[in-house]
Structures are given as structure tokens and as C-alpha cells.
Amino acid sequence: MRVLKIEIKEVPQLEETEIVIKCRETSAEVLRMLAALRMFEHKLTGWREGRTFLLDTREVLYIDTVDKKTFLYQDKEVYETPLRLYELEERLSGSDFIRISKSAIVNLARVSSLRPEFGGRLELSLENGERVLVSRQYAPALREKIGIA
């Protein structure tokens, strides 16, 4: 079992918290740690075209999983994230993000309208014109969050 060496140093002169990760190489595990840390400042780490980007959660419309990979969708750009959907769901709980299906989480702040669908589902229209479906299983939680009886 791998053991991490974690050290906390209190430096009164520092104006903001500084975290330094020392590692032999920037492995997938290290990237996951980084992504988890970024969540504390409402940031998400995403990859696109071989580069790493720091994304503001407010700019993410929804999160989707395809072929066991998780993707963050902005207005026009799509980024891959090292975090799993359930990890994102846990870390984003209490925010505007809510699970809408087994493979997707949506940012309610970026939903422009919604309407019921056949079979107890909901259809959400996002600010970029895309539409996503809330499955029957997750529709009650969304209704409760918004305050729909």
C-alpha cells in the first residue's frame, strides 16, 4: 500500500494557502490529487489537445461519461477530467451541480429552461442550446432541489 508523506507547515507571513506537490513524475494519480485540490477553489482540471486547463465550475454546463472517461462541457469546448463521475458528484454536492442520469451531471446555473417529458423524465435546455435529459430515476431529486412539488 502506497503511503503519502503529508506535511503541514504554518507560515504566518503567507497571505494565501500554498500547496506544493513533490513527486517523481506527474502520474495519473498525481493529476487526480491535483484535480481534487482544485475543487476547493471551485476549479476543475481539464485536458484538451495534450494541455491541462484550469476551468471555473461556473463555465461548465454539464459533465458526461463516455467509455469510462469523464468529460467537462463548456459552451463550445470539451475537456477530459481525471476524476470519476461519482467523485465529481461528491465534491460538487451542495453546489448547482446535480446528477441527472447514470452518466451525467448538469450545472443548474447554466440551464435556461426545462420541461417534463413522457415517462416521468425532464428535458433541460442549456444556455448553449444543447438539450439533456434527466432520467426518471433522478428527476425527483432535481424537482426537489428546484422546489417543484
Partner: protein
């Protein structure tokens, strides 16, 4: 297995809705226009078959299980046309009216098409009205959340 049960329950619920609706319409229309005060057991079974078929076709057209991606309007058209075709088949199988009379066929098709259009429009209107209310609640939710 769980998914299969969910699908069956969904179809069953819709089938019950359609069965009740057809029964009410059939009862009212046959009473008002033909003075019929009783429905035969056979007729009940026929209505049940129609309701079951409508529920299955509805599931095929509107769930994402069979047809993954299709515009909503196309789904409505698909379900309406297939339901119309199936109703014609049942009219032949169950001898609902003299099949050789073209006039009866025209009336039947007009009524069936009108009913399908009315039911579809009713659902659409109710969904749109509910959607407006839901969007208002969503806007109220967004305003209530602290933003940076």
C-alpha cells in the same frame, strides 16, 4: 432485470391511462350516438389490446431504449403514423365496421387521426404549461443561490 421491470412498469402505467381514456370516450360516444348502455366483454378485450399496442408503440417512439436519437417532432410523427396503421389493422381483425364501405373507412380514419392529433396536442400543451412553471421555479432557485 431491474431495467426490464422498469420498462414493463412504465408501459403498464401508460397502458392503463390509454385504456381508461378509450373506455370513457367509447362509452360516452356510443351512449350519446347509439344509445348503447353496456359494453361487451369482447369489446373490453379489444380496447385492452389497442391500449397495450399504443403503450408499446409509445415506448418505442419516445423512450431512448429503442430509438436513441430522433427529433421530438419526428417521434410524434412516427408514433402517430404507426398507431394509425395499427388501428386500421385492428379495424379489419375485429370487424369494427363493414370493411368494403369506403365511406366508413374515411370516417374511421378521420376520427382516428383527429383523436391522435388531439391527444398529442393535449400532451404537448400540458407539457409546455408545466415547462413554463418549472422554468419559473428554476429562475427563482437561481436567484436564491449565492453567486461569486
Amino acid at each position: 432485470m431491474k431495467k426490464f421491470i422498469e420498462i414493463v412498469l412504465g408501459i403498464k402505467s401508460y397502458m392503463a391511462l390509454v385504456f381508461g381514456g378509450i373506455l370513457i370516450v367509447y362509452g360516452v360516444v356510443s351512449f350519446l350516438f347509439c344509445g348503447v348502455t353496456a359494453i361487451s366483454y369482447l369489446r373490453l378485450l379489444e380496447i385492452l389490446v389497442v391500449a397495450a399496442t399504443a403503450a408499446v408503440l409509445h415506448f418505442i417512439a419516445f423512450s431512448d431504449v429503442v430509438i436513441k436519437r430522433m427529433a421530438y417532432g419526428c417521434r410524434i410523427l412516427l408514433s402517430s403514423l404507426t398507431m394509425l396503421a395499427v388501428l386500421c389493422l385492428y379495424a379489419v381483425l375485429f370487424h369494427w365496421f363493414p370493411l368494403e364501405k369506403l365511406g366508413d373507412w374515411m370516417i374511421f380514419l378521420l376520427i382516428a387521426a383527429a383523436l391522435i392529433a388531439i391527444i398529442t396536442a393535449a400532451f404537448q400543451i400540458s407539457f409546455q404549461l408545466a415547462g413554463k412553471k418549472y422554468t419559473q421555479m428554476l429562475d427563482a432557485y437561481k436567484k436564491s443561490q449565492p453567486r461569486a
